[in-house]
Symmetry: C2
Subunit: 316 residues, 2 copies
């Protein structure tokens, strides 16, 4: 179909974002089985647990899948060993310097994609030799760029600026948005929040229900003095908000955050004191559905939009 | 062509945003003469000056044009009197309750459009009886919504949610983005920054040059404790940034802002101490051009994109 479907050997150019505490083998294999590219999120896994998820994913699907690997943990090299040994052929890296591991991964026959939030790092990723980039906007859930460039603006900045294919991410919850991303020059999309709230997501039911209930003013980008992160409003958010308004330092904010806050909220279901990472499209998600239905809806909406936009008059 | 071109009697569904200190009769008439809808920005004008600009705009174009009227100044009713007396037939209102003046304007034969930044206020504007809404995302320049919804997300939220036509705003600087907005359900676009940096804009040359020089990390949304505003980095921004990081109160921030800060920067050209309101697309703008060339480029890019997207395969 295009360079993204060719690169990964998939049917639809839809990548499921690798998300901590949401995307284990169940979600990744469901997305791959539905014609997209599933990613196991290694960010919340020890190398041992990652190995287990990869094994189970191979058992659950014969289709291509990959691993999302944030380059900021101590055990990254052990995780890479696991990926190579287990024979995974696709790695999405994020949050670190793509120059460090891309050559090694490529030498080992892996397709490498790096996630960026601005043009400067897109060009650095190209230099590092990646096969494609994910361009992720301000509206995305979880960790986010300092520049706060939105998906709309970031895609316009990258259009014709890089030769390798661009995968749009952030704010994509409908087939209309998939089509719009392509009009802006992307060849694929990466979707996180919609899959975080799917039946196959390993997120806690309480978190999924809170995503479904979220209104249009429910997510906020906070902790900009540490690493910016988009999350749902709750008791923890209110504490952070108050601290930020009062000018708390980086260290004081890190103390409030503490350790294991995302696991507590997203995996253990403490929706009051946990950290609940999700994108602005939480406001659009109104049902917990199986991945197969989510993909079918995206395909139908994409096709409807494509047909509608074929009839749009040219401007004379 | 569609409901927006029909509503205003224009050739292309491109509205030039009414911007303080940028959009006088010169800019508005140039946009209308080029086939779009020009708007005189009343926000920085006394009723007397507005009357003068309307007269000059009628002299400079036989095409439809309108007035952008922020509903937050003391002399709004006098401005409305001027608009009615002078025979302007299109008013875009913003920053206030659309219920207050919409019925009166409509009774007097005026087409009324209201600017919103979320779905809640979009529905309120529909209730108030407006003819269309402008849906403006987080990436837009100048005053901005508290929810920080991006254009991408806001358009998906509004798609099929309102019956009246939607005009997309925020982050639109290319014909690709115009086409993408339409894929997301909009029937027109409102463009600010691109026209703020045009030859016909009444902004100071220093400000225009600073827009051209802006990189992808040059604009920021600040003053969220007062009214959020997106502006360019400069000495004034640095002061505000530091004050916000230290947790200054609303009152302290208002003191740093003072009075006439936008005029100082945008109109008088003090690019160090003035307030320079502009959108994230400043990073995409790399030349000061006449409006006719800007419109021609938008039309060409729109048509290229429309043709390209007609050839996209449906998903099976």
């Amino acid at each position: 179909m295009n360079r993204i479907t060719d690169l990964f050997g998939i049917k639809y150019p839809v990548v499921q974002g690798g998300m901590i505490w949401c995307s284990g083998w169940k979600l990744a294999s469901a997305v791959s089985n539905a014609g997209g590219l599933g990613l196991i999120g290694a960010g919340s896994m020890t190398p041992e647990l990652l190995a287990e998820h990869i094994d189970k994913c191979f058992d659950a699907t014969g289709k291509p899948f990959g691993v999302n690997l944030p380059l900021l943990y101590k055990r990254t090299e052990e995780q890479i060993d696991v990926i190579l040994k287990k024979g995974v052929k696709i790695v999405f890296t994020s949050a670190g310097n793509p120059k460090k591991y891309t050559p090694y991964l490529k030498e080992n026959g892996i397709k490498v994609v790096h996630v960026v939030a601005n043009k400067k790092f897109a060009l650095k990723a190209v230099e590092a030799g990646v096969d494609a980039i994910v361009a992720e906007g301000f509206e995305a859930g979880g960790h986010n760029g300092y520049e706060e460039l939105t998906t709309f603006v970031l895609l316009q900045l990258l259009n014709n600026a890089v030769d390798i294919p661009v995968i749009a991410a952030g704010g994509i919850a409908t087939g209309q948005a998939v089509f719009a991303s392509m009009a802006l020059g992307a060849e694929g999309v990466q979707i996180g929040s919609l899959f975080a709230a799917s039946e196959e997501s390993s997120a806690h039911e309480n978190f999924k229900n809170k995503i479904v209930d979220a209104g249009e003013n429910s997510t906020h980008l906070v902790l900009k003095k540490l690493v910016p992160v988009r999350l749902l409003e709750n008791g923890f958010y209110e504490k952070i908000k108050m601290a930020e308004e009062e000018g708390f330092s980086k260290e004081e904010l890190a103390n409030i955050l503490g350790k294991g806050r995302a696991k507590k909220g997203m995996f253990e279901g403490d929706i009051e004191d946990g950290e609940l990472e999700i994108g602005q499209v939480a406001s659009i998600i109104d049902e917990i559905k199986p991945v197969s239905e989510i993909m079918k809806k995206l395909v139908d909406e994409f096709n409807e939009t494509a047909k509608k936009m074929r009839t749009v008059d040219l401007w004379r």
